[in-house]
């Protein structure tokens, strides 16, 4: 049984940086929205706060890089993927319910669609660095 490669090694560091950036962006956006005019669009603003929390947890779990972090990363990045697809679709089908944008609105159009691509890269990276029984002594990042 080969231990999984730490998620924070090599290109994983770049992934953590991007997640950290989105944690900062989504959380500060949510804080501003919740403080200034929560009553205007409670659903959108709570979704903003939720997405911020997801990005924070994903950043921490990828940075931990151990078995616990890996499990948490699968859960949070999976949630992120479901979130961006669900909120993206809902904001396209029922724009009236999303009067104010969140990070995930229209699949992250306000952020160059990075929020849509990021979970796929994250899940791929988790899969790529998973533990493998069949290749003892393989080179990391083969």
């Amino acid at each position: 049984m080969v231990d999984p490669q730490p998620t924070r090694s090599g290109p994983g560091r770049v992934l953590i940086a991007v997640y950290g950036l989105f944690a900062l962006a989504a959380t500060s956006r949510a804080v501003v929205q919740l403080i200034t005019d929560f009553h205007e669009a409670p659903l959108a603003y709570l979704l903003s706060a939720f997405s911020g929390l997801v990005y924070i947890l994903a950043t921490i779990s990828l940075a931990l890089g151990n078995r616990t972090g890996r499990g948490l990363a699968w859960a949070t990045i999976g949630t992120e993927l479901v979130g961006v697809l669900a909120v993206g679709t809902a904001s396209v089908l029922a724009p009236k319910d999303f009067p104010r944008a969140t990070v995930w609105s229209v699949y992250g159009i306000g952020y160059g669609f990075v929020p849509l691509v990021l979970p796929f890269i994250g899940l791929f990276w988790l899969w790529r660095t998973r533990s493998r029984v069949d290749q003892p002594g393989r080179q990391p990042g083969r």
Binding site: G10, P11, R13, V14, A17, V18, L24, A25, V32
Partner: protein, 118 residues
């Protein structure tokens, strides 16, 4: 008022971003000159934020005050984080982290411009 300030910031940050890609492609950790450029980027960002805060304080800020304050405050932490990263991790990937910081600084400065010109 902030246009004459934000445009140079965007230019400097874009150069920092491209520099990061170049160093990563060459397979090298960020070099000294690259760090100096990152410091210059941060210096420009700090000047932009100070001027922005002063202008908000004097009542010349954009309508979306809270958002502007968020951007002006958030933008100053990006480059130091990337620089710290580049010092602690001497791999080619640190260059890409600087690229991410550079792109983020450029995009946030662009948003600040949009806010200010409302």
């Amino acid at each position: 008022m902030i246009a004459w300030l934000s445009c140079p910031v965007i230019g400097i940050a874009v150069v920092a971003a491209i520099w990061g890609v170049v160093s990563a492609v060459r397979g090298r950790p960020p070099g000294n000159a690259q760090f100096y450029w990152s410091f210059l980027t941060e210096l420009a960002v700090i000047v932009q934020s100070v001027v922005g805060f002063v202008s908000i304080g004097r009542g010349h800020g954009p309508a979306e005050t809270a958002t502007s304050i968020g951007y002006l405050a958030g933008i100053v932490v990006l480059m130091p984080a990337a620089i710290w990263w580049g010092i602690s991790d001497r791999s080619r990937y640190s260059g890409l982290v600087m690229t991410i910081a550079g792109v983020a600084v450029a995009v946030m400065s662009l948003r600040l411009l949009e806010l200010w010109n409302g």
